[in-house]
């Protein structure tokens, strides 16, 4: 038996030790850790803002000037052995393209999308304007047709959706339910989405510095949209700087009896994400503007008046008292600033 004097590469303790080392170094340089989960560090020095984004041992340096970036890079070089890869072109998969004249930053998966089309021999197919046929209902097959690359196709689409294609979320969510029982009709739906991608290979998320810096939150639900299970679909989208920053499309865990109930469940899911994003934005704003407290109401946009009235009306109704206790547990958070749902989810 040997006692290790330090963590070795490959051991499960190694990433933790590395993170602790980097964290201590960045803090010694005057950086504040905005959110430990996001590994986002920020420093305001002589009016210059420097942001360090950490992904294991990959660091992205963002600053209000090149001098500020060079300064932190020099300090990092002194402490760690590192390689400068120049201006960022890719970030964890998505490609980055900046237009400084227009003040835009675009995240896209153009190369990957083209590779996917080649892989599934869809490059020569005609483009199509919409994702899925309206009202398409797929049923799970008893046996999967192994000759079809359905799982690979659905997986590739999911990767695109998670990165830069929020508009694929519903289609991908639907297709993912059949990976254990699929046939020709399922594969046809994947092919249709691939044809849609063919018409929008070069599209992506475009953030504009002139766009609103206020986080807009939208929550919606499709009541009993799945004809097989009669479950509703939760969907939310958060927009910041002119493009989506967070999105989801999920089948709800329980069957909703009314539209209001489905919308209420969707609101609950949206609120969980809203709390995290709000905290992140507030902490960054507080550091940049040197303000003490930025507490304010969190607004969520809903298109169902009934849901708004139901949420505002504290009276339990015969028709609403059945709603799962899970969606009322947030009441217990009265001492907290907003609907922090981490302890109840």
């Amino acid at each position: 038996m040997c006692r290790l004097l330090q963590a070795l590469y490959g051991l499960k303790q190694a990433p933790k030790t590395w993170y602790a080392k980097l964290d201590a170094f960045l803090k010694s340089q005057g950086f504040d850790n905005i959110d430990p989960n996001a590994c986002l560090y920020l420093q305001k020095d002589d009016g210059e803002i420097i942001i360090v984004l950490v992904y294991i041992d990959d660091l992205r340096l963002v600053g209000s000037s090149m001098e500020a970036i060079n300064k932190i890079e020099k300090a990092l070089r002194k402490r760690f052995e590192m390689k400068d890869l120049g201006e960022a072109k890719v970030i964890l998969g998505p490609e980055i393209s900046c237009d400084r004249m227009l003040g835009t930053l675009m995240l896209s998966h153009g190369k990957y999308a083209a590779q996917v089309l080649e892989k599934f021999s869809m490059a020569e197919y005609n483009r199509i304007a919409t994702l899925l046929e309206v009202g398409l209902q797929l049923a799970k097959s008893t046996k999967s047709d192994g000759s079809l690359p359905y799982r690979e196709g659905a997986g590739s689409l999911m990767y695109l959706m998670v990165g830069t294609r929020p508009n694929l979320a519903f289609a991908v969510g639907k297709q993912s339910r059949f990976v254990s029982g699929y046939g020709k009709e399922h594969w046809e739906s994947v092919k249709r989405v691939l044809r849609y991608i063919k018409g929008s290979v070069d599209k992506g998320l475009v953030y504009n510095k002139t766009a609103s810096g206020i986080l807009q939150r939208f929550s919606d639900a499709d009541w009993a949209g799945d004809h097989e299970t009669r479950r509703s679909t939760t969907g939310f989208m958060f927009i910041f700087g002119g493009a989506a920053v967070s999105w989801a499309s999920n089948s709800q865990k329980t069957v909703a009896l009314f539209t209001i109930e489905a919308e209420y469940m969707a609101l609950f899911e949206a609120s969980k994400e809203a709390v995290w994003l709000e905290k992140l934005i507030q902490r960054v704003t507080m550091l940049v503007t040197q303000s003490d407290n930025l507490d304010g109401p969190v607004s969520i946009k809903v298109d169902n008046s009934g849901c708004i009235h139901f949420a505002k009306n504290p009276v339990e109704h015969k028709r609403t008292k059945h709603i799962d206790i899970r969606y009322h547990t947030l009441c217990g958070m009265r001492s907290r600033r907003t609907r922090s749902s981490s302890s109840t989810a």
Partner: protein, 50 residues
Amino acid sequence: MRDAITTDKVILEHCLTDEMAADPMIKELAKVKHDKHVKLKICVDFKYAP
């Protein structure tokens, strides 16, 4: 959730269905509605390259 709403910590705003950015997250959109979302220009540029 109700508590947060009644104490104005959370505000629920009503928005028109046509302006609901989360609409493509919950159902398939027909071409007309799809094009309306393109005009909103709020998330991915959905524009279909002809």
